[in-house]
């Protein structure tokens, strides 16, 4: 699984390839619902998180939760304040609900942990995903190193988003 992640040292700003790296060894382990919990940071399903919340909290490791892209706002609010990583499932390239979920998590619910795009994640979406607040991407196919270049394809961004609180006209002198 090719994982791309924003460097910890990178400031929050519009996408550029130098702010991202390909991660070879991910500290997080994705755990199936019927698998035993190993030591270390784990990503579990929402149902497992709910069922074993106390057990997970007692382990002294970080908790990540994998959620569908139609997770309701009240659930997002609850998760935003209680876990370190949220992995949002992108079922298809065409289904854009994850983008609004990410915006809500960052702006409305103040989520500061890692927001990871999983599922159908292709290089040509990375810049949009990064702008709405994702900072890690499990690429579903292709070379992660090649995909980094996509962050530099467009350097002009008219809108404010999760990466940039101001629209272009408030950031730059315009004609």
């Amino acid at each position: 699984m090719a994982l791309i992640r924003r460097r910890l040292s990178a400031p929050l700003r519009e996408p550029r390839s130098s702010d991202y790296e390909v991660v070879d060894t991910d500290a997080w382990l994705a755990i199936a619902d019927d698998a035993a919990l190993p030591a270390g940071d784990v990503i579990v399903s929402l149902s497992r998180f709910r069922a074993e919340r106390e057990l997970l909290a007692q382990r002294g490791a970080r908790i990540g939760v994998r959620i569908p892209n139609d997770t309701a706002p009240d659930v997002l609010a609850e998760l935003a304040s209680s876990v370190s990583l949220l992995a949002i499932e992108l079922p298809t390239q065409r289904d854009g609900r994850a983008y609004t979920v990410a915006r809500w998590l960052r702006q409305r619910f103040g989520f500061r942990g890692e927001l990871r795009a999983v599922g159908k994640v292709v290089r040509d979406q990375l810049s949009y995903l990064a702008r709405v607040g994702f900072d890690a991407f499990e690429l579903s196919r292709g070379s992660a190193h090649d995909a980094l270049a996509s962050f530099d394809e467009l350097s002009v961004h008219y809108q404010a988003s999760s990466d940039q609180p101001l629209p272009l006209w408030k950031r730059a002198a315009r004609g």
Binding site: D70, Q93, R94, D95, G96, R97, Y99, T100, R103, Q107, R108, V122, D124, S127, Y128, L129, R131, V132, G142, E153, L154, S155, V156, H157, Y158, Q159, A160, S161, Q164, P165, L166, P167, L168, W169, K170, A172, R174, G175
Partner: protein, 562 residues
């Protein structure tokens, strides 16, 4: 008109480069067609029956002469020497090669144009009133707001994968020439008692297989909230719009399923959270900055004579007929708004040849400050012509077969490309338009039929806007044969209405005759020449038209399911 600054220019250049790379990856096989599809669609590139089709954005329909010449050059160099203006003020090229598209985008970027988001499930080209800035009934020039929306929606990261396409139209006049009632968001700029500008906000209009007129959800949205409110609507739609069935995915269906009150409540709730976000709230300075690009032309002080009315009554009857149908009063004395009909005997509706595009560019330079506008009825407009130049302009237009005196008349037919080009179509549109026009041209000349809108769509997707034509024709497929339904009473203006199906459908050879019978019925029913076709339909209802259309001509085969 809006001139790009360094940022706008860099973006379209980078976009061309990005697309060149995507095309290369597609051609090498690195991208599957399934993966490439949403990417090319975000760039207006479709696969049609015979070739790729590229849809070029013309924001709010406004073109400079330099842009027209570039479009002429592109049709000549990369296509077959003509282009097709669409009902959303864009231009389509029907015969491009995939390999050439990146170069076409470079050419477009060189004149501050692009094909960004002319397709795909994203915010499409923002359309507007072709008379913006010169109309006598205008309260507010809508174009600065269109441009603000264009920039806001261009590559908006959150809304590139909406449930379905999303169309916005803006007008600032009392007469609606932008068809805002059939858009996902329709905005009408108005002034309040203190002169402050705001918008009436309509949501959930659309055509296709479920035609719906938009519902007003805000009567006065202050202009500073134009973007925040748009964002709230888009966010609610992106979250809740259906994704299980593309025919039920437009916001009109969401509005219907939730109810207008609940949709409004959700939009207002989201808006309350973001209304004061500094990333979204417009300032007077920013609105003024963009508005400065749309300052009125520097008009001459002209004599009161000649007048448009004088020309209509003049001895040159060819000129008089053209002026009467195609020329509209301007807000500045001595000037006129000239509509150029793209509905001639020779070309499909909305088509223009490269030579005509070049000619319009020259005429725009000579007579109208180097600007032209595309209309959603697939014609062109020169907005600032001296009345004293009308005769000369008419003669120049006639030399390039652009002097059809029929704008707003029944032969000014709006039609989609239909089965001659389109992958989705069930039936041909262009030959039907040509048949109907040929049949009605002499009647129109002899009888002064007045304004009648006639729209033809080759399938239920309704790109020809047949639902809102006074007369609408819809092509359908019955067991492999083309049939045509006739609808009556549609209206795309401020008195918008969806046309109603008149009766059983007609074979391709019979539809033109049916239209003629409907038009002749109108002639018999009108009280005098001032009573328009639509006014008669509204006064008498469909029954007399039905009788005239079907009376002696119906046969059992036509009576099968509509």
């Amino acid at each position: 008109m809006y001139r790009y600054d360094e940022h706008d220019l860099r973006l379209v250049q980078e976009r061309a480069r990005q697309f060149r790379d995507q095309v290369a990856r597609r051609l090498s096989g690195a991208l599957s067609e399934e993966e490439f599809r949403p990417l090319r669609l975000q760039n207006g590139l479709y696969i049609q029956l015979h070739a790729y089709m590229l849809r070029i954005a013309i924001p709010y329909g406004l073109l400079s002469s330099a842009q027209l010449r570039k479009l002429a050059h592109i049709t000549r160099t990369y296509d077959r020497g003509y282009g097709h203006f669409t009902t959303r003020q864009n231009l389509q090229l029907n015969w491009v090669r995939l390999e050439d598209v990146p170069t076409i985008l470079d050419e477009l970027a060189s004149v501050e144009m692009h094909a960004i988001q002319t397709s795909g499930n994203c915010v499409r080209n923002v359309t507007s009133d072709p008379f913006a800035g010169v109309a006598r009934d205008e309260d507010v020039d809508p174009r600065p707001y269109c441009e603000l929306l264009r920039q806001y929606s261009t590559f908006h990261p959150e809304f590139a994968y909406l449930p379905r396409k999303f169309k916005i139209a803006v007008t600032g006049s009392r007469h609606d020439r932008a068809a805002i009632a059939v858009h996902d968001i329709g905005l009408r700029a108005v002034r309040d008692a203190t002169g402050g500008i705001g918008f009436e906000v309509f949501v959930g209009g659309g055509q296709g297989r479920t035609p719906v007129l938009a519902t007003c959800i805000r009567t006065f949205l202050p202009e500073r909230h134009l973007l925040s409110y748009t964002e709230a609507i888009l966010r609610v739609y992106n979250q809740l719009g259906r994704r299980d069935n593309i025919y039920k995915a437009r916001i009109k269906i969401l509005l219907n399923e939730l109810g207008a009150a609940e949709l409004t409540r959700r939009v207002e709730e989201e808006h309350a959270r973001i209304a004061d976000d500094e990333g979204l709230v417009l300032t007077d300075d920013e609105i003024q900055r963009v508005a400065r690009h749309f300052e009125p032309a520097v008009y001459e002080q002209l004599e009161a004579s000649p007048t448009i009315d004088g020309l209509v009554l003049g001895k040159d009857r060819t000129l008089a007929r053209w002026v009467e149908a195609n020329v509209v009063g301007h807000r500045t004395p001595g000037y006129a708004i000239v509509q150029i009909s793209l509905k001639s005997e020779r070309l499909p509706p909305g088509d223009a040849t490269h030579a005509q595009l070049d000619a319009v560019a020259d005429l725009a330079d000579r007579y109208s400050f180097g600007r032209a506008v595309v209309t959603h009825r697939q014609n062109l407009v020169l907005t600032d012509v001296k009345i004293s130049d009308l005769a000369a302009l008419h003669a120049d237009l006639a030399r390039v077969e652009l002097a059809s005196p029929n704008v707003g008349r029944v032969t000014d037919i709006v039609a989609c490309p239909g089965l001659d080009y389109c992958d989705l179509a069930n039936a041909r549109s262009i030959p039907v338009a040509q048949d109907v026009a040929a049949r009605l041209r002499s009647l129109e000349t002899e009888q002064d039929l007045g304004p009648i809108t006639l729209n033809i769509s080759g399938c239920i997707n309704a790109c020809g806007h047949h639902h809102v034509g006074n007369l609408g024709i819809l092509g359908i497929d019955k067991l492999g044969e083309e049939f045509y339904q006739l609808t009556l009473g549609g209206d795309h203006t401020e008195t918008a209405a969806i046309g109603k199906i008149l009766g059983p459908s007609f074979a391709a050879t019979e539809i033109a005759g049916a239209v003629e019978r409907a038009v002749r019925a109108y002639l018999a029913l009108r009280t005098d020449r001032s009573e328009t076709f639509l006014a008669v339909v509204r006064r008498v209802g469909p029954a007399p038209f039905k009788e005239a259309v079907y009376g002696a001509h119906s046969t059992p085969t036509q009576r099968t399911a509509a």
